[in-house]
Amino acid sequence: MPEDLGKMTDLSPEDKERLTLTGLEVEMKNRSGSFFQVDQEIKQWTSLEKGIEVLPIAEALRKYAWLSAYSWNLVQKDKDQYTRFVADQPEPAGFAIIARKGTKTIYPLQACLFLARTPVQHVHNVIIAEEGAELHLISGCASASYKKSGSHIGVSEFYVGRGARITSTMIHNWGEEISVFPRSAARVEEDGVFISNYVCMQPVKKVQMAPFVDLAGRNAIGRFSSVVVCTPGSFMDLGSTARLSAEGASAELVTRAITTGGTIISRGMIEGASRETKGHIECRGLILRDGVIHAIPEIKGNVVDTELSHEAAVGKIARDEIEYLMSRGLDEDVATATIIRGFLDVRIAGLPDALQAQIDAAIDSAEKSGF
């Protein structure tokens, strides 16, 4: 395994800063493993945790014949033009992470996908947490400061075994002319937990994603949260779908969306397909400057004894809230920023403190630049 750590540390200070904003630790502090891909070139991969393997997907497929059953299993190759594009590649890029039975990480693994020169970056990732394993992944996706246009297509398949737990936190820092098409799906077995977080506070041309989780085992839990700020010229079509397939399964989809001039479509869908299941969708949007927030929460119950609910609210900051804080001595700008920061402050149950801190840092950084 090449220990080519110099590659990530050799980035320009500006690009290092861009990566830091996506939650990556260039120096690998408090990280249990790492994967670094620039365009289609895999620069570095390592795992410091016994029982957890981090490998380029092509190498992993060669090494483990059984892995092919997990590849293109949850995401269909012909789902759309983007999945077909990735599937047609002769040599797949991306990573496989396998957490063996009972393995638990204290520190998260980090995956850095960096778009530098090629017009398109594509990745295919397979993440497996076997029975009782616990895996925390932070994916930092960014483009180089000099990269003005391009596309990123990422296919990710998550397998959460019985009693296992995967948290996946994705923080994006693209450019104004970069388009991004993540295609993700997860399957969660009995008593498993899948937590997926998406944060994008920086300009991007287009993001289109609709991750899907099948809560296939009894008492499986799925939580999706998205925290986004959509700047003028940006278009974000974000959605997530959870299927409550087994008794006792529950799902929660939470979105905090702010537009400062861009367009956000926030979709959420929960299907209650088994008894004693629960699901809730919450979408809250703030329109700070003229832009669009289109919330489309959907709930579908197929059986008795499934409890599904949704709430969506789009609006502006209430004047009485601003004046309330002003009466405590904050000027109008600080009062407004404090309310916005609070609005974006989503506490994610079950997320390790280190990852919550990374999400907070990404939001803090956007706050400092005045959103």
Partner: protein, 243 residues
């Protein structure tokens, strides 16, 4: 401390405060009484500088400076604070976060004040979201204690609060208004709206004012006034020709 001269305030097209004159000196606590809808809260909001009302004439002076047109936060920075009767819910914004922003050099006192008001476990809660009546008032008092204004306006601090919490809130407000300091050395002043008068058991108010239909109808000893209102209602005040 506070001098209000010939103040007229309208909301929309309707004048709701007419020719209000009020002087509150350093160390004094005044009580504002009056039936619902008489304009008491509007007066407090006008002093704080809130939108939704318009001062059409008259002046509000604080510490010798005309603040009639000053923005809310500048009045707060000069030393005016307000405890709201029904503060808004600021969902998402944690109480602890707000106190961290407003406390400044008093940051070290936040935990002590929170302990005093039994609010330690509310620091990570969104402001007023799901709070009971007593919790809202304790949160309000905590914010004011952190702010330490020289002049504090209290809009029905005891409404919706159980007896146990009234004692807690009453003691906190008394501390805020330096009731433990000799009158000669007391610097903090207050203006309190109350309907029940329970809060006066903790505050030893100096002056009382009765407002009806946007005008002051009576000034005097607060306990005497309250006794009359409790016995005969506000009709006695309306009939009174003392002013």
């Amino acid at each position: 401390m506070l001098e209000i001269e010939d103040l007229h305030v309208k909301i929309g097209e309707r004048e709701v405060l007419h020719d209000i004159n009020l002087h509150i000196r350093e160390g004094e606590t005044h009580v504002l009484l009056g039936p619902n809808g008489s304009g008491k809260t509007t007066l407090l909001r006008a002093i704080m500088g809130f939108s939704g009302l318009e001062v059409t004439s008259g002046t509000i002076r604080f510490k010798g400076k005309d603040i009639t047109r000053l923005p809310i936060h500048e009045r707060a920075k000069m030393g005016i604070g307000m405890l709201f009767q029904r503060p808004p819910t600021v969902s998402g914004l944690k109480l602890g976060k707000l106190l961290a922003v407003t406390s400044g050099e008093r940051a070290g006192m936040v935990s002590e004040y929170a302990r005093f008001l039994h609010m330690e476990n509310f620091m990570d809660r969104a402001i007023n979201l799901g709070f009971s009546g007593g919790e809202i008032k304790r949160s309000e008092v905590l914010q004011i204690m952190v702010q330490q204004p020289d002049f504090v306006m209290l809009d029905e601090p005891e409404s919706g609060v159980d007896l146990e919490n009234i004692t807690l809130i009453g003691n906190a407000i008394a501390r805020l208004l330096e009731k433990d300091v000799h009158i000669v050395n007391r610097k903090k002043s207050g203006l309190v709206i109350t309907h029940t008068g329970y809060i006066l058991d903790y505050l030893d108010a100096d002056f009382g004012h009765v407002m009806c239909d946007g005008v002051f109808r009576c000034h005097g000893n607060p306990r005497e006034i309250l006794k009359v209102i409790k016995t005969s209602g506000y009709k006695e005040c309306l009939a009174c020709q003392k002013i």
